[in-house]
Amino acid sequence: MAFAVASYRDTVRQTLIEEMDRDQDVFLIGEDIGRYQGTFKVTAGLFDKYGAKRVVDTPITEPGIVGIATGAAMTGLRPVVEMMTMSFSILALDQIINHAAKVHYMTGGQSTVPMVIRGPSGAANQLSAQHSHSMEGWFAHCPGLKVVAPSTPACAKGLLKTAIRDNNPVIFTENPGLYGVKGEVPDDLDFTIPFGKARIAREGKDLSLVAYSRMVHVCLAAAEELAKDGIDVEVVDVRSLLPMDTETIYGSVAKTHRAVVVYEDWKSGGFGAEIAARIGEDCFDDLDAPVGRVGGLNVPMPYTRILELECIPNEKDVIAAVRKIS
């Protein structure tokens, strides 16, 4: 299979194009995604290519948008909803978790909701408290949804294709900090990555760093630093939070006997707690040290850059957590 180097942003865009060409039922809907090309320019050019019918600019009404997409999906259309930022999905949570996620169950299996909700999740650059939420954990707690958080362009392509072809509501979270990240992407039009399969981003034998989305890169950077001191850490890219591949995570911990879970969301009550709790319970006998966690500070995101940077976990924080249990 051939590869091409592309950015995360262009890969998401290219994948949308491929799936829209493949299936006429796939359409995009969201705020400023058409004429304005998308706030993060992920949908650049698509309005000109597919027109107003399949690239739908909407009013700023997230609950209504998700509800309309859900209803359309119940009839077999395959909407891909863009949340300008996942922070705005909070307005639509009732439509997402109390409607879309429950359709298949409440109808006794009569109906499905083949809908994808995608957009940047997490802090960007000084967008302040109301625009910097990490939402994946909230969604991963909700049965009926599937939730992914790819860290590389290739994973973004494979998981987005799987998401669009899935018959259940899927939350596809991007991180604003990833759009510029480049990587090799297979050009196979049917390159899909199954949900519930984690990825070993880096092999190591001394400790397992478990992360997803942008934090995978923070962990990889930390790993390089630690390697200089002879600490050989493995980095597990969870990729898919719901379903989650505990087998791969546990396998890594069985090998390294130590684990630190890293996530950008508020530390307390974030999904990293679930991952840590599972490792703690299911790998108890393998563990030579307590399962460490590195998460975002438990404060609303401040505006000023120096404080914002304090809130978001970085290499130093990961290294400190690793040293603590090494």
């Binding site: 009404t61 609950p63 309309i68 209803g71 119940m74 298949h104 409440m106 009926g144």
Partner: protein, 338 residues
């Protein structure tokens, strides 16, 4: 002489009998639902349409059944029945049996029959209206001349998501009729206490949506209005808003047994003077379409039928415990256990 009468009839004798039978059928079916609740065979929330039957009969006889789509809130028994769902499966759902429309997972509030074009059956006030617009969005996307009926209550007509939906329906010309069931109450809150302007039909005005108010008790007039509006929406491919003036004869739900908290007996008695079934009976007799004997015979028949439905549903099994894990996803099982 009957011929004579026919000329002035609002509908053919056959149609008139159908409307009569359907209203009576919903009425007795739901009396039976309440009975099931009192027997402890139905639980949770159970809301009947008693007094509001013309909203089902008038509108659902004006659409293309099975082709057009219908969505409503939790006061949904009558809709499922008239759209052609197996009445035993409806009753079984209300009783939480595995043979229920939703396999016992939904209950009274969550009836669905997708093949028949019935999209439920929803519990969050105002929550289903955007999905209704989504059904209409799909019809337009696929260039089919399908019409969507989206019912909502007077209380639901204050919900923010509904206004967002009206704006998008007006903006994109979606083929949907919003039917406000103005039964004067939102649970225990009277219209005047929850709506700044009690003329709810006005809520379509800011969105360039044709809007009007009609009477909800005269099923024959409602059938005429419904047909006119549905034909308009199908032809013009534009949304429409109708406020239907009706009254909730029963309590909010089966558990609401103190209606005097929010209205007087006198008020209820006054409202019941316009019981839609009585109004139609008066009409049928005045126009020599039916006599008392015939009506009693029909009622007998329906009561028997409802008894049969109840007994069959009641004889059907509950789900097996492992079914609790089914239907969370269409293609994936969930982790089991606590």
């Amino acid at each position: 002489m009957a011929k004579q009468a026919e000329k002035h009839l609002a509908a053919s004798p056959a149609e008139l009998e159908t409307y009569y039978r359907e209203m009576l059928y919903i009425r007795h079916f739901e009396e039976k639902c309440n009975f099931a609740y009192r027997q402890g065979k139905a639980g949770g929330y159970l809301h009947v349409y008693i007094g509001m039957e013309p909203l089902a009969v008038g509108w659902l006889n004006s659409i293309r059944k099975g082709y057009d789509h219908v969505i409503t809130a939790y006061r949904d028994h009558g809709h499922a029945l008239l759209l052609g769902s197996d009445p035993v499966a409806v009753m079984a759902e209300i009783m939480g049996r595995s043979g229920g429309l939703s396999r016992g997972k939904g209950g009274s509030m969550h009836l669905y029959d997708i093949d028949k074009g019935f999209y439920g059956g929803w519990g969050i006030v105002g929550g289903h209206v955007a999905m209704g617009a989504g059904l209409a969005f799909s019809a337009k996307y696929r260039e089919e001349d399908r019409v969507v009926l989206c019912y909502l209550g007077d209380g639901a007509s204050n919900a923010g998501v509904w206004f967002e939906t009206l704006n998008m329906c007006g903006l994109w010309d979606l083929p949907i009729v919003f039917i406000i069931e103005n039964n004067e109450f939102a649970m225990g809150t009277r219209l005047e206490y929850h709506a700044a302007d009690t003329e709810l039909w006005k809520r379509g005005l800011p969105f360039d949506i044709k809007s009007e108010r009609i009477d909800g008790m005269d099923v024959l007039q409602q059938k005429v209005d419904a047909q006119r509006i549905i034909d308009y929406v199908r032809k013009e491919q534009k949304p429409y808003l109708v406020e239907v003036m009706t009254y909730r004869f029963a309590g909010h739900g089966a558990a609401d047994n103190d209606r005097q908290l929010y209205r007087t007996k006198e008020e209820e008695e006054h409202a019941m003077l316009r019981d839609p079934i009585k109004l139609l009976e008066k009409y049928l007799i005045q126009h020599n379409v039916m006599n008392h004997e015939k009506m009693e015979a029909i009622e007998e028949e329906i009561l028997k039928e409802v008894d049969r439905i109840y007994d069959e549903a009641d004889a059907s099994p509950f789900p097996d415990l492992p079914e609790v894990y089914d239907n969370v996803y269409s293609d994936m099982s969930v982790e089991e256990g606590h």
